[in-house]
Symmetry: C2
Subunit: 501 residues, 2 copies
């Protein structure tokens, strides 16, 4: 129809193929690759990523984009072609703003920094990591200069993971969330202790695995367009919507970690499987942002999977798989046990009431580092002071404090915030869905997840990257990012739980 659009789509399809192949290689590396394959996999991946980048940032794409923009300038701004061109133009501008030698230097610095971080964490020795982190931050500050029009330097970093999100928005949301969450966990600290001793006995990995597979099948995971494997760290990856793969892991002593991990990754997978086939091989395929992606994983893991309605349906099946461990544990005890609030040092082990505080602490420090108001040298002390302030705990060493996450060593600044954005968006969607589907909880009690998935598919998943995240949330929920629903949810959930205690 419009030759320049066809030309653009054909160039984008080639780039998409290369990216898909790279994603599949990364999946293979983490799931299948024999140890000896490390070097050859590194070579393949770096060549594919480089060629994909060269092709996407080529003059050919720039020219096709300009012609397409001109050709459709008078059309409907909401047409599929207009959306595609707008998102491609944004991606193209970002990708071409960053010089190739910067990308190469970044890759080298973070490679060394990750090695140093792993050693530093093992020895709980911050000084070993400090000079590397200095370099990473210097690079990040240089990155910001490639985007001179941002309101705040941190905006340029945030935008890579959450397009259109501003530092000021995040800060104003956090300003509401932080005191309320600190207050909530202080209140809960005085509640009577929750008994979760039933989680400290041996469980069969095989049985748990089969149960988890039943659960994610009932959620709607499409096995014809996906698979499930084991890996050291659980993850989800997508080779287009028709091949979406998740992994789980078994952690000795944490019997439900496999189950909640499977639900979490299935949340990501359902999103990817739900993207419209019309977006396949274009700039619009895949999830729109890390925050919205995390909203899907958190929705299925927490709002569904840690709900009383869910366990009303599934607890008998779990009990019958584990009669020795759970036969004498009532549904109410089980529900409270898996929702126990316990401030802890480690982010990845945090519960729903404390998780955001771990994230806010990191984001605040990141913003300070990028602004230059915080120095790397002061980081450990600031970390510990804030842990005490938010969670009432002081890490006994740096390994369980400032050195616990890989993100900074990998150059992932602007990433942490998306975990909390995901939590908030999940509950915004959850409330919205209840308003149009009053039987939401009864559906779940019957083990019927089809209405929920159908709504998410229609309202959210199918659009892929066609709208900016905030625009999309506003379309679906009637308001942009908002901390109030999450706070209501926490109050309601924990208020009820501890009342009944």
């Amino acid at each position: 129809m419009i030759p320049s659009m066809d030309q653009l789509k054909s160039l984008l399809a080639e780039v998409a193929d290369l990216r898909h192949a790279g994603d599949l290689l990364e999946w293979d590396e983490r799931v299948c690759m024999p140890d000896g394959g490390t070097a050859v996999h590194g070579e393949m991946l770096s060549t594919l990523r480089r060629i994909a980048h060269e092709k996407f940032t080529s003059k050919a794409v720039g020219d096709a984009l300009a012609s397409a923009q001109a050709a459709i300038a008078d059309g409907d701004p909401q047409s599929a072609d207009r959306r595609l061109v707008a998102v491609t133009a944004r991606d193209y501008s970002k990708a071409t703003n960053v010089p190739a030698d910067y990308v190469a230097e970044h890759a080298e610095v973070v490679s060394a920094a990750q090695h140093a971080w792993a050693e530093a964490r093992a020895e709980s020795n911050f000084a070993k990591f400090e000079p590397h982190l200095e370099k990473v931050i210097e690079l990040k500050r240089r990155y910001v200069t490639f985007f001179p029009s941002v309101d705040h330097p941190y905006d340029a970093l945030l935008d890579d993971y959450e397009p259109g999100m501003k530092t000021a928005d995040v800060q104003s949301v956090f300003a509401v969330l932080r005191p309320a969450q600190v207050e909530l966990i202080r209140t809960l600290a005085s509640a009577p202790p929750v008994n979760d001793a039933f989680l400290r006995v041996p469980y069969s990995e095989h049985e748990m695995s089969r149960f988890a597979t039943d659960v994610i099948t009932s959620f709607g995971f499409d096995w014809k367009r996906g698979r499930q494997d084991r890996s050291v760290h659980p993850f989800a990856t997508s080779i287009g919507a028709s091949d979406v793969r998740i992994t789980t892991r078994w952690v000795e002593g944490q019997p439900l970690s496999l189950l909640f991990g499977a639900m979490h990754e299935t949340g990501h997978a359902l999103y990817e499987q739900g993207v419209s086939a019309a977006h396949h091989r274009t700039s619009l395929e895949g999830g729109v942002s890390l925050g919205v992606h995390e909203s899907q994983s958190r929705l299925w893991e927490n709002l569904v999977g840690r709900s009383l309605a869910f366990w009303r349906h599934f607890y008998p099946a779990l009990q019958s798989r584990f009669p020795a461990q759970l036969g004498a544990v009532s549904l109410d005890e089980f529900y409270k046990g898996i929702n126990k609030v316990q401030p802890s040092l480690i982010r990845v082990e945090a519960d729903e009431a404390t998780y955001n505080l771990h994230v806010m602490l990191r984001v605040e420090l990141e913003i300070g580092l990028i602004e230059g108001t915080i120095s790397v040298r002061d980081l450990p002390e600031l970390w510990n002071a804030r842990m005490q302030e938010y969670l009432g705990l002081t890490p006994p060493d740096f390994a369980r404090g400032v050195l616990q996450d890989i993100h900074w060593s990998a150059g992932l600044f602007g990433y942490f915030a998306t975990y909390t954005l995901g939590n908030l968006i999940a509950v915004q969607l959850w409330e919205r869905f209840a308003s149009i589907r009053p039987s939401r909880d009864e559906d779940i009690e019957r083990g019927d997840f089809a209405p929920l998935l159908q709504w998410l598919r229609t309202a959210l998943h199918q659009h892929g990257r066609a709208y900016e995240p905030q625009e999309l949330i506003e379309q679906v929920c009637g308001s942009r990012l908002d901390p109030a629903p999450y706070l209501r949810y926490l109050q309601q959930k924990y208020g009820t739980m501890y009342e009944k205690n």
Copy 2:
């Protein structure tokens, strides 16, 4: 050292990365991919193959090759750089001789021909396949015209799978082999029947699989640089020497098919794992030809795996895994049972005494089709007449006759011969190894395969594609392709077996 060599190697490394990635994608398609992934995998693979071809046939490679040739023209002709340049020049010339529109037309024609063949075979209806085969042969005859300097038109096709091999060489070898093998199976037909009833009872797939894994581990399969999976058709693939993957399958009613298949694929894998790391990411990596590759799979499957020495060591272990099936079967009975000679209609089920006759029949017909001395229309009749002449059998339908193999529909002309070349080369190597390692059979009786593998590595594997196949065989065995050792082997093996009966 030599800038033009470095430039050439860097361009070849990029092409190798793309090919490795393509090979891994194909492995994934056959082992991991969910059904829904067919389309996206096809897109990725075709893009990777196209870019690899574009990059390899680019002017940049042509220029670097010419500069490198000039720069090293006065050096040692056996130097690594000279070998690399020579092999790259051969590959480059072949790849650039074939026009891109021919490649595209070929891909289309064989895609349609394969569908037609599958239907035709299912209905045993040759007429349905006939027009497609006509087109394929027309294309093959056109292909030959891109190589005007060949002695015989079929040389151009053979050379793609067995570089440097001539139709005349194959024909003169077959002229010796054919009558001798026909004669041998006539003689064996009058021998008393062999009892292999113990293979017609149920076996446990799991136990057989564990036994096969023990066997290939003892052969020397390096699990740090490889893995094993299940697939519909067994195969071996290599993502460079440090990541070599094999697959096996369980066929109900053929309990040893998994075991011999695993040995066969391990033969291919040991070759790939043995290629020198110095050849990695160059034109010299991987096996030198299909024939030499098949010599390795046949050596481990037949010369080792179907030998009495091998089973003297392994039979007690197999018996202890299958006491009900094999407890009362003596080693001698077992050995004869697994080496039973039985002319049959289907190539892939043929034994060591009859296999080459299936191959020779096909190669003779192929040569006639390419020369134009045989027409497609006459093929079914010629096939049946020759089956009667060579094996004393007439197929009851085309599905078990001329339509049984996928090769012709896929455009693989010149390929079949390499199965027989592999058989012959395997025994040439086997005799040669005995002459320098007189304890060859005693090693095997002790389950010690290290001397054999070590010799194959040093003599053959490490060189990758550095020498032409015939050159390499002559270096190692002291003579070029020779049917005499294979005939001696058959006479000796079956003479002894049937004498003792």
